[in-house]
Structures are given as structure tokens and as C-alpha cells.
Amino acid sequence: MAKAPSPNKPQTQSPGGIDLRDRWLAAFLAWLLPGLGHFYQRRTAKGVLFCVMILSTFCYGLVLGEGRVVYASFGPQERRLPYLSQVGVGLPALPALVQMQRVRAGKEPLFGESRFMAPPNYEQGELSALHLRLNRRWELGSVFTMIAGLLNFLVIYDAFAGPADALRGAPQQKATERPPPGSAGST
């Protein structure tokens, strides 16, 4: 939970009084691995929640797509725009960049025959073959991994600025604090 800031050290607090520590570092850690930014801020329960939900969604999508739905390709054959949202999960999606660089350099992708997170071999029509073989699991895997990445953008913002209701000033709590009509404090 939130801790009181020490007087001799500059602290970054959200409007809700939550100690966000170094918010830029927290945001970077939150991108690097879902929940890591919250662990750094000692918001452990939320860190566990985000880590479990986002990584399980991402991994389930990867399993549905047999590890092929997350890949980076920005060449003339295909612009894989879904990767821009998938990379929101950070480190788990980064092997796709390594695979793309290897393929561009004319090297064999890592992980052997499985071609995990490697772009399809367009010359051999592998993309069409993948669509044909995986059928709707290709779309489902893409959607699951994309949503996982997009959800982590919300988490990154939460690590940077605190929960949204605290930013709005928690209107429900303020309503209860308002003095009743006719009392001395009201006009």
C-alpha cells in the first residue's frame, strides 16, 4: 500500500496520496514486464493482478497461435501493425524483434523448426499456410496477444500517474464529505 514520503527525499505522489517513487522508472518497468512497475512502487497486490492477468492473456494467445501470431515485419511484403500493440507487453514480445533482425540479415531464425515469433517465409507462402492450418486460432491468438499489449498501456499509465479515480479526486468520497444542506458549513 501507499507509504508516507520521507521528508529529506523528493517523492512523487499521485493526487490520491500514493507514493509513485520515480514515476518514469516505474512506467518503464511496467512496460518491460507487466506488474513490475507496481512491484517497484510497492503496490504488490496490483502488481500481482496485472502480471497474472496480462501475461496469462498474452501466453494463451501465443499458445492459440502456436507462437507464430506475435512477429515483427515491416517490409514490403507485410506491415505487421498488430505487433505495435503486442509489443506493449514488453520483454515477452521482444524476441520478435530479434527474429526479424535475423531474417533481415539472411540468418536462420532462432528456435529451429518452430520459428517461434519469426516472420513467415513469404516467398514460400508460409503466411497463407499458417492461416489455413491455424484457421480461426490465428485470429484469436492475434486478438488475445494484442489485447494483452493494449491492457499493459493502461497499466503503464497507472504506474506513471496513479489510479484514474484518484486523479479525478474520487467524487464518491467527496460527496460523502459534503456538509448536509442547512448545516453551518453550507451556504
Binding site: A2, R43, M53, I54, I147, L151, D158, G162, A164
Partner: protein
């Protein structure tokens, strides 16, 4: 086959509800309550869209 595909939406609704609610509140009780409300509304809206599309496709 179509009905089995619909089950894929459940884990997504759970994940989206919990993560979205988690970014709105700090206390776990508030998160859970918000997530349940959000999930139920999502399911109602998704069911409505499904019913509408199903009705339209039946009359094609």
C-alpha cells in the same frame, strides 16, 4: 462450432475487467466490485450485439 467460439470471450472479459478496474482504484475491494460491474455490463452489451447479429443473419 460458433457457440464454442463464444467461450473465448470469457477469459478476455475477465482480464479486461480486472485490469481496467485495477487502473481505476487502489484498494482491492474497490477493484473487484468495479470489475464485476464492468464484466456484467460488457457481457450484457456483447450479448445484445450477438443477438442482433444473429437475428439479422437468420433473416438473410
Amino acid at each position: 462450432m460458433m457457440s464454442s467460439d463464444l467461450w473465448y470471450s470469457l477469459p478476455l472479459v475477465v482480464a479486461i475487467s480486472l485490469v481496467y478496474a485495477g487502473t481505476r482504484h487502489e484498494a482491492m475491494g474497490d477493484i473487484i466490485r468495479h470489475a464485476i460491474r464492468f464484466a456484467l455490463w460488457s457481457l450484457v452489451i456483447l450479448s445484445g450485439i450477438f443477438a442482433l447479429l444473429y437475428f439479422v443473419s437468420e433473416n438473410l
